[in-house]
């Protein structure tokens, strides 16, 4: 069934189809319509879940951490400073290996206050141990929520589903609402191996020593460092799971098929514009325009930011002449975080493309098609070279 709804409602309908049973949230723009919709679905009896309106984002994730530890499928959503307020809990959820799913409706961070879109919120949380997926349109938001629960519960790592505030959250687009039975086939009920249960008492997240230590039966248990190594390795291995889930999802629902990089006119391109989120679709018009001018350029949207799909990036781009990385976030005093990651992924390749970096759209600054076209015209030249520092688009200095 096709419906026309906002991106936030697409996310809410995904959470309903995923049959999350504990939802906790605190209001923050532009996430609010998503959680309002969920509270409405629960209140109307259309969704069988506990909706818990907490007093802060820190508590929202605390509720999800505890509910997940007690064996329930948990969901929350936030934006910007709300995500930052969760920071300690983000690390806790990942360290405790809880398959929580959270929508991050991307918004710039104060100070100064902004309510408009950029990616600084989620990018600044890249090292919290969460998987980060980025959606480009409403259909992807809904589908990614379903895939995120499946992924999180398969690898026991929490997942953020990130999508652009306003550009996607508050705009209306048609998308297909999957059949609930088909979703159940794709996403079986949450059945964790361990959960809080008086019949089988466990003390979870206890103080752990630097070195390994035997338990009361003499079996060696990991130390803190082994536990961290396990999280890292499981994040790396989750890339195979992401690929498998994408294939299975396409078999059942007939959509998708691009687990890491969604390409547009990339095959015969010499140069590729790379970015995350809705901008990769915005760029498609620019690519068509430049193709008519004879510039062999394509566009690619990265769907997964953590774990970083370095092999997919190297395979897709190492034979290209140049990459132009557009980012709505910045590692202050250095460069765009995605730019640095892409350069690192290509470093081992002897014949690698040049990589350039543009920072744009911070705090909702309008991204003009003409500006994107000019940047690409400027960069898509054999004489271009890899830069150390980003250039800025739309900066009025």
């Amino acid at each position: 069934m096709h419906i026309i709804e906002s991106g936030n409602v697409a996310a809410a309908l995904g959470v309903k189809l995923a049959e999350a049973s504990v939802i906790a949230a605190y209001p923050i723009t532009p996430q609010t319509p998503l959680t309002e919709k969920l509270s409405e679905l629960v209140d109307a009896g259309e969704m069988n879940a506990q909706y818990i309106p907490v007093e802060s984002e820190h508590s929202a994730l605390a509720v999800c951490i505890a509910a997940s530890s007690a064996g329930s499928r948990a969901f929350t959503a936030t934006s910007a400073n709300g995500l930052l307020y969760m920071n300690e809990q983000l690390h806790w959820a990942a360290g405790a290996r809880l398959p929580i799913v959270m929508c991050v409706v991307n918004r710039g961070i104060g100070a100064p206050w902004t309510v408009w879109n950029d990616h600084q919120d989620s990018i600044s949380q890249r090292d919290t141990g969460w998987i980060q997926l980025y959606a480009c349109d409403h259909q992807q938001i809904l589908d990614t929520v379903l895939k995120a629960f499946r992924l999180a519960e398969t690898v026991s790592v929490p997942v953020m589903v990130c999508y652009d505030g306003y550009i996607l959250s508050h705009t209306y687009m048609p998308f297909e609402l999957p059949d609930a039975e088909m979703v159940r086939r794709f996403l079986p009920p949450f059945a964790p191996e361990y959960f809080l249960d008086p019949k089988c008492p466990k003390n979870l997240n206890t103080v752990t020593l630097p070195d390994i230590r035997p338990d009361v039966r003499g079996n060696t248990a990991p130390g803190y460092m082994e536990i961290r190594h396990n999280l890292h390795m499981d994040m790396r291995k989750s890339m195979d799971v992401i690929s498998d889930i994408e294939i299975e999802f396409k078999e059942i629902f007939g959509r998708g098929g691009y687990p890491f990089i969604e390409p547009y006119r990339v095959n015969d391109a010499d140069y590729v514009a790379v970015c995350m989120g809705s901008l990769s679709y915005h760029l498609r018009d620019v690519i068509d325009m430049l193709r008519k001018e004879g510039i062999a350029v394509g566009a690619a949207g990265l769907r997964v930011y953590r774990p970083f799909p370095d092999k997919a990036v190297a395979d897709a781009f190492s034979h290209k002449k140049g990459l132009i990385v557009f980012e709505k976030a910045l590692s202050y005093g250095n460069q765009g975080a995605l730019f640095a990651d892409i350069k690192a992924a290509l470093y081992a390749k002897t014949d690698r493309p040049f990589v350039r970096n543009y920072i744009l759209g911070l705090g909702g600054r309008e991204i003009k098609t003409t500006e994107l076209a000019d940047a690409l015209r400027n960069s898509c030249k054999p004489s271009s070279a890899t830069t150390d520092r980003p250039e800025w688009i739309g900066l009025k200095m």
């Binding site: 818990i52 605390a62 951490i65 509910a67 008086p198 979870l204 206890t206």
Partner: protein, 300 residues
Amino acid sequence: MTAKTTILNLTEEEFVHPGNRACSGCGLSIIYRTALKALGRDTILVVPPSCLTVLQGLYPIAATQLPCLNVTFASTAAAATGILGALRAQGREKTTVAAWAGDGGTSDIGIQALSGACERGENFIFFCYDNEAYMNTGVQRSGTTPQHVLTTTTPITGKAQRKKDVPAIMAAHGLDYIATASASYPIDLYDKTIKAKTFTGPRYLHIHTPCPAGWGFPTQLGVKIGRLAVETGLFDLYEIENGRFRLTGQSAKMLGKKRLPVGDYFKTQSRFKALTDAHIEEIQQEVDGKWEKYEKNGIS
């Protein structure tokens, strides 16, 4: 309660093992052991960083027999909320959810989540074991450290501010059951825990918990010192049941009787070394004034 509870008719089942990592003479060991007997096996615990985190043992060994979720410092009551949400979703509502936090984890960093959970009416019991400073991190002052007390962050002249009255803050939330207790009167705590279990919604127990290392007294004197706090009228045992306040146990017995002077309590602990005679006199007058109100209102 039908028969009077004594040490002989407490359940023999132990939920806290001997040989745990509490310091010798720790008041928390007494109350945790006793209250867990009252809570019973069908209980899930929530614990933020505190002395209790250490008492319960280091991975992969646990000193307790009940499932426990260790959570971040500020999130205790919110985590209890999440467990309750999951239990409702799974039809496991019969299980008791009990949070155990220290005074800092309750009155300072944990109070937002606690207030939120109480306002939402979450069905849990919150135990605050009040040893009147951040003991696990090395005796820093907290919101419930009494005035003039020496801590490692009030090291010379003592804490300038008064002790925060957390049970009164909880009472302002309109809870159906609030009680204070003391590690020196474990049977009273046991009975109050049993009683708390008969209520639904948020319930709050505030337990005065002597700490030899932080208060500066010999380890064998913990019970005596906790009793002195009550017998001098400084820390009162009471219940607020459906909004009605009444003194209980030893405090109720003291109505109409002469109390020990507060100085008897202060001289037992090195943390009170900064108290002057004038301070002690001032505190004595405050305590006398408080008890005058108890007597006048006929609270018992």
